[in-house]
Symmetry: C2
Subunit: 357 residues, 2 copies
Amino acid sequence: MLKPGATIGILGGGQLGRMLAIAAQQLGLKVHIYSPDKDSCAFDVVHAFTCAAYEDEAALGRFAGSVDVITYEFENVPAKTAAFLAKRKQVMPNPRVLEITQDRLIEKNFISELKIGTAPYASVHSASQLAAGIEKVGLPAVLKTKQLGYDGKGQAKIAKGVDANAAWRSLKNEPCILEGFVNFEREVSVIAARSADGKVECFEVTENEHRDHILHLSKVPAKVSPALAAEARKIATKIAKAFDYVGVLAVEMFVVRAGKKQTVLVNEIAPRVHNSGHWTIDGATVSQFEQHIRAVAGWPLAKPVRLGRVEMTNLIGTEANEAQHWLTVPGASLHLYGKKDPRPGRKMGHVTRVFGK
Amino acid sequence: MLKPGATIGILGGGQLGRMLAIAAQQLGLKVHIYSPDKDSCAFDVVHAFTCAAYEDEAALGRFAGSVDVITYEFENVPAKTAAFLAKRKQVMPNPRVLEITQDRLIEKNFISELKIGTAPYASVHSASQLAAGIEKVGLPAVLKTKQLGYDGKGQAKIAKGVDANAAWRSLKNEPCILEGFVNFEREVSVIAARSADGKVECFEVTENEHRDHILHLSKVPAKVSPALAAEARKIATKIAKAFDYVGVLAVEMFVVRAGKKQTVLVNEIAPRVHNSGHWTIDGATVSQFEQHIRAVAGWPLAKPVRLGRVEMTNLIGTEANEAQHWLTVPGASLHLYGKKDPRPGRKMGHVTRVFGK
């Protein structure tokens, strides 16, 4: 259990690392950010940071020596980096989680083994496997590289009647997973926190709208029945337990109709704080960032209570230019991440609005 | 008007500077802290800081050159420092405010000239003036050095029948103000923000309980009538306007009974964010820290809405050891300031609890 004044090391220097750092500091903890990107926006909000490659073992060694525990803000920390650090300091969530979630196929298998539903999927390591995969999951389908993709990168849609092999070639013959199309009613996510002593606290189910594969809007409560919400939270809890997880994870799900009944299929696990949980900063009695810090510090989790009906809108690219407008909207809380270049698709900030209960 | 990414310079590195820095960063601004104290807890939450004396003009010059605007977290910034900086960058609130509030006598005169009530007071520059002062304000009374005192330091109580000159000598013959005792029903404060274009937003009147001259507990709403609350807010607004103030200020007041009617007397003005406004971080839709940053950035203020009945408890000295307990209290938000040494009387953190409306 960390004492106030201890230092949490965070791998990754984006907005998630930045918001984790702020949460840790509000609890009296210190933060050391490690990121290879010299423009990391999390550097601006901490006293100690290391700008070095994830392969730089000398820098990693010094980093591990300067912190009390290590966590990360994103799932693509190289497995070798995580293993190197884990020999020197406790890394939470445990690096096995990274091995599973860095590979879409391994992740899907892991979920399936827990008897949790997913979209139909098939492993595709060759053009011939692609044909068999299409046979199994049907069309339309999405071909995704097994590794290293997010926000719609490393994906190719395969529609009926088009050349499936073109999709395969566009992903440069990398090992892929083919995922069948899910005719979903809505997309939801559950943000769950698990403490070192195994207690789980889920935030309320969040409904998400994407634009161009990037989260645009999150709304809470989600338009789902109490039974479905309970099912979704149960699934997130089950996954957190199966990982022996410590910290916050997000489970993205599709709400689908099975006859008269609604059910959920798991789309993706993010072993970290998640964009769809940003509403918790202003819209709940504890934020996902504070829950994650409490967990990795070995502290008890808080019981989150939502403060009203909440909407969180991402500010993507030049949408950040609307910041001045948002400052004048009653009840709107503006968050900007301190990034210089508003590139298309880049998450620059978000706005949370809490409406009366 | 500052653009996101601009840098706010803050004089002072205590918990107020720390919480101001966090608020600025959440809005996408950068922060540079200037403090002579190498253990400044605000240094831990920013990338840029200067640890140098307030008399170090070379360091002050570099500081002014590296920031876009300058503000401060405490009223005892030396006048010469403020003047030196104001020639180089805009300092908000304007340094004239410091001149007034650094001297209890000048402050009381300023308040009186606004036709706002205060405790009876008298200027005491000599033992003979002390006798005349006692004649004027009555006993018991409190003798306070005109300058540089807070949290009960630089004060001596004079009761009936005791040697008044002993109090005078205990304050080392420094110029003093003698304040008559006010038989108050409760202590309240108003936190007001004023924007660069002259708009004022007050937070709701806060009721404060002190222990050993240090704030122990703040409660909102205060137990005062709507009329009295309106009067208190009007007074804070009047003071902010008279100062041509930009930023957040706190006005501490006594609630007294005048016949059947309650009224307020101003006790003290703090030209900065204030301990009795810490509840706004978790208990309102905008915090006093964000309001101050919005104001000095030239941005519009937000309209604060309180989220419920709120209680803020300071963690003083070793009370910070109760932090682990507070982590388990439902709905309690713990804030620790990252200070190492829990000296008696030192503000180590605070806890805010928001109860249902």
